[in-house]
Symmetry: C2
Subunit: 238 residues, 2 copies
């Protein structure tokens, strides 16, 4: 473990690490199915929608498409997955509302307590691919006490592009080694580490449901491996 | 008064409106004078330093200089004013620390209570010319519970350029009429109003000291005129 004496800011991946997107989206989708009287497995629908997330950002990362906020990518992906499922009962307003389900994701149970403790000692911020309005609305909805909302939209680049991490440290006027990324995803942490960030892995073994096979444990030498955010606060002496 | 039913975000000018920069800087400067054994009127020094603020931004606004964060402009202005006062007893580290006095400004006494109440109903954010790290450090220092830090550095333009207001609304994914600017300065509010923002004037009649002659009252038809932030929260039904 590297020396963490100079750590000033603890930044967080959000989808999966802070919030349980799958169960949150599933709940909203199941309610829609009940209301509109069609049969749907909300959790499966959530996974199908989420599966289009990485491919849609790839086109931005490669330069094939200009930067667009995640809300726009989510909406394009929603239209695709609704068509895949043959769901054509939703009005435009209902689709707008459903797309904003990503603004209403519920945190894992340890999150708020851990963040409140970490906030006493560190700057706590988001370093997410979610756009600013999505993250701000989610914070209001779920009581997440961020000091600052950073990430892809501010940096103009999606993770794991190095610009996303470097841009976040730069706007805080901190060196990368004064910043930590907390994530449940090995690839995100590895990219942050290559930019000089300190790293903390927190496993979320049911993010993708009961049969998850990836990111069950830390595959690299991260600075901290914590069981949840309360344990993370304790390990960071907050 | 325009209809405020659609108001979602209340954004704030910071220097003078939220924090008492003059007395905060004066206190730090007086302490430095005591320690270094030179005679100084801290409040007068604060005003002299602040007087270089608008001219330094003008060069950025006109395009004569590229955008630079306010910390950089403050430092350049500090070097000028130290020279004007013939103060040459400060080490580089001491000058860096003094420049960061802008990160340690104290709020007016009504601010925290008013913000806590407003935060329950609205997104509350900064729309300041201060850079993100300055505003984040100030919030940590003074307990200001912002939901989001916006303004000049995020928009890439200093107020009162329209881009500063439009950029802040855009990143919140809100229309200008869903946003309000709160300020103690008529010119700032007028510029925001011309961009479609709702406006609230809160007088800070001693911002520039006991002999202040400007911005003592609202010179235009702003949507709200409040005596302080607690009164503002009440008027906005928060």
């Amino acid at each position: 473990m590297k020396n963490l004496d100079q750590l000033k800011a603890v930044t967080f991946d959000v989808f999966g690490t802070v919030v349980d997107w799958r169960n949150s989206i599933a709940r909203e989708m199941n309610l829609i199915g009940d209301k509109k009287e069609f049969s749907i497995d909300g959790a499966e629908f959530a996974s199908a929608w989420r599966s289009l997330y990485q491919p849609s950002m790839s086109k931005v990362r490669s330069g094939e498409m200009p930067f667009e906020r995640l809300d726009v990518l989510h909406r394009r992906n929603l239209d695709t997955v609704l068509e895949q499922y043959g769901i054509n009962q939703l009005s435009e307003l209902e689709k707008v509302h459903l797309n904003q389900a990503w603004h209403r994701l519920e945190p894992w149970p340890d999150v708020v307590e851990g963040l409140v403790r970490l906030k006493e000692r560190y700057i706590i911020g988001t370093l997410s691919n979610g756009n600013v309005s999505l993250i701000v609305n989610m914070a209001k909805y779920s009581g997440l006490p961020w000091d600052v909302v950073l990430g892809a939209e501010i940096a103009g680049h999606y993770k794991p592009c190095p610009e996303a991490y470097h841009g976040s440290a730069k706007i805080l006027d901190l060196a990368p080694h004064q910043c930590m990324l907390v994530a449940a995803h090995n690839a995100d942490l590895l990219a942050a580490s290559e930019c000089g960030f300190r790293t903390a892995f927190v496993a979320r073994p049911t993010e993708y449901g009961p049969d998850q096979t990836t990111d069950l444990s830390a595959d690299h030498e991260f600075d901290v491996v914590a069981s949840d955010f309360v344990d993370l606060a304790w390990r960071l002496q907050a």
